[in-house]
Symmetry: C2
Subunit: 330 residues, 2 copies
């Protein structure tokens, strides 16, 4: 390919990592996993028009492609180390392509540097606009946060706030009202620049009984934990952590729906035995993201939600299908 994205990314993400024995430029990278550590690996794809709207800033796309993958490592309690990038880009005029590539590289590299992640390999091809990133991290044997460890009686927590990204997705156009615009910008930032909860994941090792990142929506993702653990969960809607930006731009019922079913928040949802809840909350508060108790694990299966008045809610949908597909063929 003519566009030198990988070279540019390599320059921007050059990390002084002793464990990269041979980086970009050969048929494969050569890497050394630290003795006594297991390797955690994940891969995730972003497709234009499916995972980000056409017109999204290139730097946001580059950031997000790495962020959604680091979020997977965070959910395992792994320390990020290396990334691979497979980028497919349409042929376009040189100037536009250079701007796109520079933006992608800048956003990707900015997040990579902040987590000490080295780009060790990549592939660039022409075609529709699709990015796949694979990430690698380390975790001591037996200490990874899995989905299958939730037990009846555990408390359910979530970091940060929920629903912001989904609400941001509905607010593409700037608002003439300054307060509304400020909220819109805050929500859009949650959508475009998710902060993978890596430090929180590390703090949860040895404490959380199960963990997952909220990418498809709380109900769907906690549902995966329940399924894997053979348990059910009961949530209390008024306990869901909602940002002031979200509450400022819709009523509480709509905010709750965003929080339950919206995706792309990349917070961690985890379960903790009650005896450990206090220390976990204190530690995550110190890390800045905080952790809010939102329910508990019960016998049975599935996720049920109780409203403020104690009534069971019937969610309209159990997940979030991103936004109307711009690329699907008929």
């Amino acid at each position: 390919m003519e566009f030198r994205l990988i070279d540019r990314l390599q320059a921007l993400t050059a990390q002084a990592r002793d464990d990269v024995r041979l980086g970009i430029g050969d048929d494969a990278a050569l890497l050394a996993v630290p003795a006594g550590q297991e390797l955690a690996v994940a891969i995730d794809t972003l497709v234009e028009g499916v995972h980000f709207p056409r017109g999204t800033a290139a730097a946001d796309i580059g950031w997000k492609a790495l962020a959604v993958n680091l979020s997977d490592l965070a959910a395992m309690g792994a320390t990020p180390a290396w990334a691979l990038l497979a980028l497919t880009l349409p042929v376009q005029p040189a100037e536009a392509q250079q701007a796109l590539v520079d933006g992608l590289a800048d956003g990707f590299a900015q997040l990579a540097r902040s987590h000490g992640v080295a780009l060790v390999g990549g592939d660039t091809t022409r075609g529709p606009f699709v990015l796949s990133v694979a990430v690698h991290g380390f975790v001591p044997p037996g200490q990874a946060l899995r989905r299958d460890g939730a037990r009846v009686g555990d408390l359910v927590f979530v970091t940060g706030t929920l629903g912001d990204a989904a609400a941001g997705l509905q607010r593409l156009a700037p608002s003439p009202d300054p307060d509304e615009e400020k909220r819109r910008v805050a929500l859009r930032a949650r959508l475009n620049r998710p902060e993978p909860r890596v430090a929180a994941g590390l703090a949860l090792r040895g404490r959380a009984s199960a963990c997952i990142d909220v990418s498809d929506g709380l109900l769907a993702d906690l549902g995966h934990v329940c399924m894997a653990s053979g348990v059910g969960a009961e949530l209390v809607a008024p306990m869901l952590p909602l940002s002031s930006a979200l509450l400022g731009c819709c009523d509480e019922a709509a905010a709750r729906d965003y929080a339950l079913s919206g995706g792309d928040d990349y917070e961690l949802c985890f379960t903790v035995p009650p005896a450990r809840a206090g220390e976990v909350q204190a530690d995550l508060a110190r890390l800045g993201c905080g952790a809010t108790r939102i329910g508990r694990i019960v016998a049975g299966d599935g996720v049920r939600v109780r409203d403020a008045d104690g009534q069971w809610l019937t969610p309209v949908r159990s997940g979030w299908d991103h936004f109307p597909d711009e690329t699907a063929r008929p």
Copy 2:
């Protein structure tokens, strides 16, 4: 996603690998690299209409997506272990989608099983038809085959035969002539079902001074070795290994051009000090792929080709740009 490709692939590729501590189904896989081994990792993408023509059999696509990646490991002398698959597929009627997914899974799994590769993670999304595969293998520290070790005086070899895949790409339509059709089928098989030279790569460890797989075309790929090693190469055109299928369907000059500039052969091109050439050739002959001496490393830079009469050839192009793009935007 509704299509259960990853589940199906998991079932088909389930390997009894002790080093997979946690496979598909959580936020990341947990893997154990054997003590004292380095990890070799690579990623490659196939795009419909760019890397394979529309209408290619699904099983061939699944096979090739893994094969091009295993070829990268082969070129490093690494033993394959694990793969990740990121698949983007258009929305289509359920029956067609199921057939496509089944075919992809069958082809991928067939090759994975033959190399003991476990699929440990994946991601499926809707969008244009794009597959990215990341592979992981093991290599003892310091023994990987790199591009930068070629030395003046080394001999240049290539496994198997060259040019078949590129010639096959020009022959989409069946021929009414039975002999011509037999040749066409053989050439198409080289294009659609490349055999990664994993065993050859392992046999070259500690012997070859440099190695690369021929994916973009011999001139381009050997050019990468020369660039990385700070040397030049002289090839002798009549020494290029050409299959009877290729020679049967075009004249020798055309066959030579396919061999020099055609891509997608996935043979290994490597350099060996003269003293080791005999043993290497004998070992690769025993492995079935053979190795043909095609030239030597010289001082200088770039790759030059001498014809039968000793004249220097001037290649029209120094690489192979796949085939006319079906997907590029204007």
